[in-house]
């Protein structure tokens, strides 16, 4: 999607007449290969900025390398290092803080127990620490599970989660869409989906595909944390621009309208804003200084203004929506408007102490052009 955005920019004159060339490297989640590709980008392609990374482990593998070269990354982070290092700032919240958002919504519905199940990919304890802190502060017992993916036996997973949650409990999932779907479908086929009070999911579930595959039985029953503004309800100029770019330049964007393409849009938007503020030549130093200088940008896609800055860690997106399924679409849930992720999570507390809580200032410029 970032590529689509840049294509649109280039079609309209580029940055002060300079077209943007965007190199994309895909990887197979192999640390050595990821490091090789980083070197390719830096040493062979001589890129001046890095944006748009979405790999599970890329931040872990590359952050020291980027730091040694002076790159400040804007990404859609997953690994812990995307949120705990000085040279990575994400437009999303990542699995831990998105799970926080889902658990917070469940706790706000006064459930008596929380069961948190996540896919067994790197970083599970780090991710689980957020929900654990939230549940402890609310004096609600929490059970932590991990499940190997891809899931080959969803029935036993669904049965176990429902058993653990009980009638007044909530099941919170942190999986990629295919695995989350298979658990929810298994619960429905077993006819046990109503045996818990609430089903919730972190942001990967926020796709219309999932809503369509689940069907109308799940209307107002599954609550998904949405890190970016729900596109279906919104008709602001930026959202219309997003939909227009997607339809005109984004034929190859998989997933269509949804969180992933929104993240790409937002990252590209921020990059263009940074590039536009560069005077003189575009070098690694000048571009990354501009990126670091991004302050209080209204992206039109987030609850808050987005800033980079010189902090030792970055969680600039820390306020989210909650959406629910509605006949094949994901729409805003009741009381699902912008909600701050609580500072009970120690990492959030640390970032807020450094940078404060940003808010949307309606007088600042809207991003994108």
């Amino acid at each position: 999607m970032a590529q689509a955005y840049f294509n649109c920019v280039n079609a309209n004159g580029g940055i002060n007449g300079h077209p943007i060339k965007y190199y994309i490297e895909t990887e197979q989640t192999n640390a050595s290969q990821i490091a090789s590709e980083a070197k390719q980008l830096a040493q062979t392609d001589h890129v001046v900025g890095i944006i748009g990374n979405t790999s599970i482990i890329e931040c872990t593998v590359d952050h020291s390398y980027w730091q040694s070269l002076g790159y400040y990354i804007i990404d859609s982070g997953i690994a812990p290092e995307c949120y705990s290092t000085s040279n990575s700032a994400a437009v999303n919240m990542g699995p831990r803080y998105s799970s926080d958002g889902a658990v917070q919504y469940a706790l706000a519905q006064h459930v008596s127990k929380v069961v948190f199940d996540q896919s067994n990919v790197p970083g599970t304890t780090y991710i689980a620490a957020g929900p654990a802190a939230l549940a402890a502060a609310a004096h609600v017992p929490i059970t932590q599970d991990t499940t190997n993916v891809p899931i080959s036996d969803a029935n036993s997973v669904a049965l176990q989660l429902v058993d653990q949650a009980g009638k007044d409990g909530a099941v919170v999932l942190n999986f990629t869409p295919p695995d989350a779907l298979v658990i929810l479908q298994a619960a429905q086929k077993l006819n046990i989906e109503n045996n818990v009070k609430l089903w919730a999911c972190s942001t990967p579930c926020n796709t219309d595909f999932l809503a369509q595959s689940l069907g109308s039985k799940w209307n107002d029953k599954i609550f998904v944390n949405a890190e970016l503004t729900p596109p279906d309800d919104t008709t602001t100029p930026t959202m219309n621009l997003y939909k227009a770019i997607l339809s005109q330049y984004g034929k190859n964007v998989s997933g269509g309208i949804g969180s992933f393409s929104q993240m790409g849009f937002t990252e590209a938007e921020l990059m263009v804003k940074a590039l536009e503020s560069v005077t003189g030549s575009y070098t690694v130093a000048s571009v990354n200084a501009a990126i670091k200088g991004l302050t209080n940008v209204n992206t039109g896609m987030l609850c808050q203004a987005w800033s980079y800055g010189s902090y030792s860690m970055h969680i600039p997106n820390n306020e989210d929506y909650t959406v629910t399924a509605d006949n094949g679409k994901m729409v805003l849930a009741p009381n699902g408007g912008c909600t701050q992720i609580s500072t009970v999570d120690p990492q959030i507390a640390q970032y807020v102490s450094l940078a404060g809580r940003a808010s949307l200032d309606s007088t600042s410029n809207a991003g994108g052009s």
């Binding site: 036996d153 029935n155 058993d163 869409p177 295919p178 964007v253």
Partner: protein
Amino acid sequence: MPPWSEFQQFIISGLALGGVYALSGVGLVVLYRATGVLYLAFGAVGAMGALLAWQVQQDGWPGWASWILCIVFGALVTLAYGVVFGPPLAGRDPLVRAVATLGLLLILVGAMDVIWTESGGAVRSISLPTDNGGFSLGNIQVTWTQVIALGLGVVLTVGTGAFLRYTKLGTAMRAMANDRVITATLGVPVRRVEAAAWFGCGVLAGLAGLLLADLVQLDATTLTFLVISSLAAALIGQLRSITVTFVAALVVGLVHDLLTPISALTNYRDMTPFVLAAIALLWVSRRRQVMTRSREEG
């Protein structure tokens, strides 16, 4: 330890899982006895058929047409493989012939990755109308699809055993799997019998693929390598007895799900098929060498 009532529901879901393993496991043993080839690409063929069915459903085809497409695809690919690679490899060790099917597996896995790539958060799901009905057992629902899968496993177990033993075509298949050359000298039209065996294989693979895509997940990698867990059941039956394979598959499924509520073991329960197969094989071979001469096992 969790209460008995909790285990109860896992018995039912375990039997359903066992039905899934039985379908693939029995299919593998049936094919092995009929053609002498351990068709490791069984899952991959079914997976690609199921993905094709999904694709044409997205393009507007009616459900029944997509299922027929899936089965026909399975039959054609398997038949093509058997006709092209069956004869040249006929005299070779079963091991070599099984490794050759790995070649087909890789081709299919690569093709599926090219056409229906996994990245980008794509969600694919296939559902059959039999998902919506069923009956209650305890406090959970058993869908007709699960019943069909288990039932198909039973039919295969009983029916193929009888077919191979009592019918002329079945006897010809068993003879061919044992020794192709001698069978040919007896006047059996080996090419046609072989083609029939492979075609039957393929129909089964397509049908199993459709059911498994519904019961497990429409994911190329999962469905392709589900065959390894099913292989465990086939190994417990020593690639010979269809009944033992069927029962073993049910046991594997049961044990797997019954481990779910035991918190110390629950994360290791995916090991169940492999551990049980290893134990069974080592038990069987504890006193004697399991010698396999090249054309003997059938």
